[in-house]
């Protein structure tokens, strides 16, 4: 007996893209940065990432199945990505139980309480990170020193990030020329031999992944390019005016998770605007707020806060920056 004929409305063909494929593309893009991180921080980075990923998936399953009593959506890859991105934003010597708390907040509060995938306003990984930063400021700001070829599980020395060193130095009245001896060189920043969170190490590896995402059409170039260019311009202006009080733009771009934020966190599909005009406005906002926090605020690093603040403006941006409707010119052009 032949299967019955199917009827449906047009279109009757579909592109091969699915949301799972999009998620897995993001996963592949993060692999180079992850490998650099293991190289620099050792097995601890692997442990941290695995704990984050597993807790995110487990919490999503438990909350959906038993609290919300709906079907579980752990196979769509979004919990996996949230776990990895959360881990990339944490220092690799964070106690395990704190990672689990962060995962619970990221998935339970930032994602599922708003309605699940597609309904959240704020980037879940960043909400988890900021929550941990505010609750456990000491552990969240003790960065392990980067040691090449580090395969040990036990962390030896803790140190400061590049931006942290700059901030402290400037606060104590030092000038940039003296500080610049203490911070890693541009090459070291690019390759990733510096301290910081698991994911913000190698600007090069992150850039590679970012380009991969743009080529695969998962994200467009608008947000990352605008963030980096605007940051460069704004910090460049300050640096030109007073090079002793302000670090040069290259340092700003290559450190503090700016590249991680620009390519992976700000471009999160759910929490970013849906039109190209809107994306540029969003990116400019993030860049300006980041620079303001870095130069004039209490924190050495501001991109996480900047992205979360701009996430709140996204519905407004979507409302006012609509694409131009075809044929909306007032006079019709007659030759």
């Amino acid at each position: 007996m032949a299967d019955p004929i199917i009827i449906s409305a047009s279109p009757h063909i579909h592109s091969a893209r699915t949301s799972e494929k999009v998620m897995y593309d993001v996963l592949y893009a993060l692999i180079p940065a992850f490998l650099v991180s293991i190289y620099v921080f050792g097995i601890r980075a692997l442990v941290l990432t695995s704990v984050a990923v597993i807790s995110c998936i487990v919490f999503e399953y438990l909350i959906q199945k038993y609290l919300l009593k709906t079907e579980s959506t752990i196979t769509d890859g979004s919990a996996l990505i949230t776990g990895i991105l959360l881990a990339f934003n944490l220092p690799s010597n964070l106690p395990i139980w704190m990672i689990i708390v962060g995962a619970l907040i990221a998935i339970g509060v930032a994602k599922l309480s708003f309605g699940g995938l597609g309904y959240n306003i704020f980037n879940p990984a960043l909400v988890g990170r900021v929550f941990l930063l505010v609750c456990f400021p000491v552990q969240m700001t003790s960065w392990p020193t980067a040691v090449e070829n580090n395969w040990s599980l036990v962390d030896a020395v803790t140190g400061e990030t590049t931006l942290g060193i700059i901030k402290e130095g400037l606060m104590y009245g030092e000038t940039m020329s003296t500080i610049s001896e203490k911070i890693p060189s541009t090459m070291e920043l690019l390759l990733g031999i510096t301290s910081g969170s698991v994911g913000e190490m190698s600007a090069l590896a992150l850039l590679l992944g970012g380009v991969f995402l743009i080529v695969r059409k998962v994200i467009t170039w608008h947000i990352p390019a605008t963030i980096i260019v605007t940051m460069a311009v704004v910090t460049g202006v300050f640096w030109l005016v007073n090079p002793e009080q302000y670090a040069n733009p290259l340092i700003h771009i290559l450190s503090g998770g700016a590249i991680l934020g620009a390519f992976y966190m700000a471009t999160d599909l759910v929490t970013s605007p849906m039109t190209k005009k809107g994306m540029v406005i969003f990116a400019i906002g993030i860049a300006i707020i980041t620079v303001v926090i870095r130069l004039f605020g209490a924190y050495p690093e501001g991109i996480s806060f900047a992205i979360l603040i701009m996430n709140a403006f996204v519905p407004l941006i979507n409302k006012y920056f609509k694409p131009r409707r075809f044929g909306n010119q007032i006079k019709s052009k007659i030759v």
């Binding site: 019955p4 004929i5 199917i6 009827i7 449906s8 409305a9």
Partner: protein
């Protein structure tokens, strides 16, 4: 330290007092006069806010009742005659009594009798599936089974029967608000008069196709044979070419059409079962014969004596 506490308390209390005074003045100055009758009427209305009266909500309907001279055309289907009577007493205006009605589904083509010949893929709402194609079966007039009517009912009076795939209307809860009638894209639900014992007789089919095509699509389709029209003693059956319709205002619920319909397309609800009557009918006949014989025998002894 006590100074600062005193200052804070004093400041907050004065702020509170000032705010209270300002609010009082504003509420008096910008007071909107509303006819007190409106809230009185609104209190008796059932507060269902279903829109069955034609107004957007019970308060708006109360407003309309109070402000319209002649309210004989206005009626609240949920409250019914009782509520309208009370309204009439409060406002001193005349209201017309309406017979209670109930929603009836004029299609009984469930999954078993009306087989599906295709699979529809797409949003499961009747409004959209009616647009895509004639439906998953061969009858383009029947119920689509996607439940727009059930979704729109504010009074929980409808649910989808899982076995037949058709919506079921709970007569006790139906308030005649007509939301389901408007929601159905094929106009399959009709308002019919509500009988005291909830007796209903109606043709459960809207198929306008010719006999052969209709029967092929659905076992219980109306084939337009006119047997019901012929047998109806009150002429309550209206026949178009291929479809019968029983006019509820003329029908006396005698059930003759139900027996005679060859496809069992006419539905009767809540009637007592008929089969028990037949053996009772036979017995009285025999008894009568015995009684007659006894009477004849009893006459004779008089003559003997």
């Amino acid at each position: 330290m006590s100074d600062s506490v005193l200052y804070s308390v004093f400041l907050l209390v004065s702020l509170g007092v000032i705010a209270a005074i300002v609010l009082y003045i504003v509420s008096k100055k910008f007071y909107v006069y509303e006819n007190p009758l409106i809230s009185e009427v609104d209190d008796i209305l059932p507060a269902a806010n279903c829109g069955g009266c034609g107004s957007p909500g019970c308060k708006a309907f109360a407003d309309k009742l109070v402000n319209t001279e002649d309210i004989s055309e206005l009626f609240c289907p949920v409250g019914g005659n009782e509520v309208m009577k009370q309204v009439s007493e409060i406002l001193g205006k005349e209201v017309t009594e309406k017979d209670p009605t109930v929603a009836v589904l004029l299609c009984q083509g469930g999954c078993e009798v009306r087989p599906k010949t295709t699979i529809y893929q797409g949003p499961r709402t009747c409004a959209i599936s009616a647009m895509v194609y004639g439906g998953e079966t061969d009858c383009q007039y029947g119920c689509l089974g996607d439940g727009d009517c059930v979704a729109v009912c504010d009074f929980d009076a409808m649910y989808m029967d899982k076995n037949t795939g058709l919506p079921v209307i709970d007569t006790d809860k139906c308030t005649s608000c007509e939301a389901c009638v408007k929601a159905c894209p094929r106009d399959i639900i009709e308002m019919r008069p509500l009988n005291k014992r909830d007796l209903k007789i109606f043709v459960g089919c809207l198929n306008q196709d010719k006999a052969g095509i209709a029967k092929k699509a659905c076992d219980v389709a109306c084939i337009g044979c006119s047997k019901c029209e012929d047998i109806c003693p009150k002429d309550a059956v209206i026949m178009t070419d291929t479809l019968a319709y029983i006019d509820p205002m003329v029908c006396t619920l005698c059930r003759k059409c139900v027996e005679v319909c060859p496809t069992h397309s006419i539905i009767e609800t809540n009637f007592p079962p008929k089969k028990v009557k037949k053996p009772k009918e036979e017995k009285p006949k025999r008894e009568k014969v015995a009684v007659v014989k006894a009477k004849v025998e009893s006459v004779n002894p008089k003559t003997d004596a």
